[in-house]
């Protein structure tokens, strides 16, 4: 219920004409609950985090098609080590943030919302998995691969944007 309330506030603030509550709720789209208005250049700090993230992606070879094949052929521990460590570090961090009721640097309380189950997580998850095995990339590595000079990945990226768009277009007809 808490999410719905936030989404409603958000809608009012942004003056959306159509009810987006359900749409945003199901897709964890109401992820940005910050009500603060900042100048656009405040966003550069997220770019800096992204830069570090992108360097890690390349240097730990997470963007490599070979490493993804190893992961799914169970011939290397590398990717399991990366994801496992990241999850453990993330879990501990989130637990500390919850426990200490930490605030953002702007003094805003940090909110962590619960996701609700829908069939999309299984069906969509399986579909994404098929693509992951073929392309060797989830959305994050797609950006890093392009940056690292694999220009042809731009086609994969545009096709991923198209896939997202087609999902949005067909959304009402798909089981959730």
């Amino acid at each position: 219920m808490f999410h719905l309330k936030i989404c409603k506030i958000y809608m009012e603030l942004t003056k959306l004409k159509e009810p987006q509550v359900d749409v945003r709720y199901q897709d964890a789209m109401c992820t940005n609950e910050s009500q603060l208005k900042h100048p656009w250049w405040y966003n550069f700090k997220y770019m800096l985090v992204g830069i570090i993230f992108g360097i890690v992606f390349v240097k730990a070879e997470i963007i490599s098609w070979f490493r993804i094949q190893e992961m799914f052929q169970l011939t290397s521990f590398h990717m399991y080590g990366v994801i496992g460590t990241a999850v453990i570090v993330g879990m501990i961090s989130v637990a500390i943030i919850k426990k200490t009721k930490a605030k953002s640097i702007y003094g805003e309380p940090i909110t962590l919302d619960n996701k609700t189950f829908n069939k999309g997580q299984i069906i969509g998850g399986l579909i994404f998995g098929l693509g992951w095995g073929i392309t060797g990339a989830c959305p994050g590595p797609l950006y890093a691969q392009m940056g690292a000079g694999f220009g042809v990945v731009a086609v994969t990226f545009l096709s991923a944007v198209l896939g997202t768009w087609v999902y949005g277009y067909l959304r009402d007809k798909l089981p959730h």
Partner: protein, 188 residues
């Protein structure tokens, strides 16, 4: 120092830094780590076409676009200034499997036998770039997140739906890499 950074980084270092992205984004502005949403924001910004799913104030989510632009720049910086001249070290069992597919070049992070512009207008290119990319974009949005939003952010926050999504990603990936790929490579 630079020599040290040029070597491939250990999984624990990468895992630690990726894990720390979660609290960093929360503390910087109450932002939830997630990457596939950026694809939705791009749709909302460029081609909303009246689809309700894309009618929202994407500008409020602009931070996410700055973040992925950073990932692109980071990829560029790492490949330009920190690249490792040595070929990739890949498990022997996987090398043998890939040799059956005609993939033997380990000089770069991606096999040139697939990921080159020469393949763009071939059936191989169509399957690996167009079909593969479509499945990634369609599937992540349908699932409501990708490896970052579900597997890292969602699991960090102990979300059962994210665990279900992650298991589904892995089942799809195992099927794709072990069943589909051998069939796909028979086509060429």
């Amino acid at each position: 120092m630079l020599e040290f950074l040029r070597q491939p980084w250990h999984w624990s270092v990468a895992g630690l830094l990726i894990g720390l992205t979660v609290p960093t984004l929360l503390i910087l502005g109450n932002k939830k780590f997630g990457i596939s949403s950026s694809l939705r924001h791009i749709c909302a910004a460029c081609i909303p076409a009246g689809v309700p799913f894309f009618k929202y104030d994407w500008k409020k989510e602009a931070w996410n676009l700055f973040f992925v632009a950073g990932v692109f720049i980071g990829g560029f910086l790492a490949a330009t200034f920190l690249s490792d001249p040595e070929p990739m070290q890949v498990a022997e069992a996987t090398k043998m499997k890939l040799a059956e597919y005609g993939i033997t070049n380990y000089q770069a992070l991606m096999p040139p036998e697939i990921f080159s512009f020469n393949q763009l207008l071939t059936l191989k290119g169509f399957i690996f770039f167009v079909v593969g990319g479509f499945l990634v974009g369609f599937g992540t949005r349908y699932a409501g997140g990708c490896t970052s939003g579900h597997s890292i952010m969602g699991l960090s926050n102990l979300q059962l739906p994210s665990l279900i999504a992650t298991i589904s990603f892995m089942i799809g990936g195992f099927f794709s890499a072990n069943v589909l790929l051998p069939l796909i490579f028979k086509l060429f």
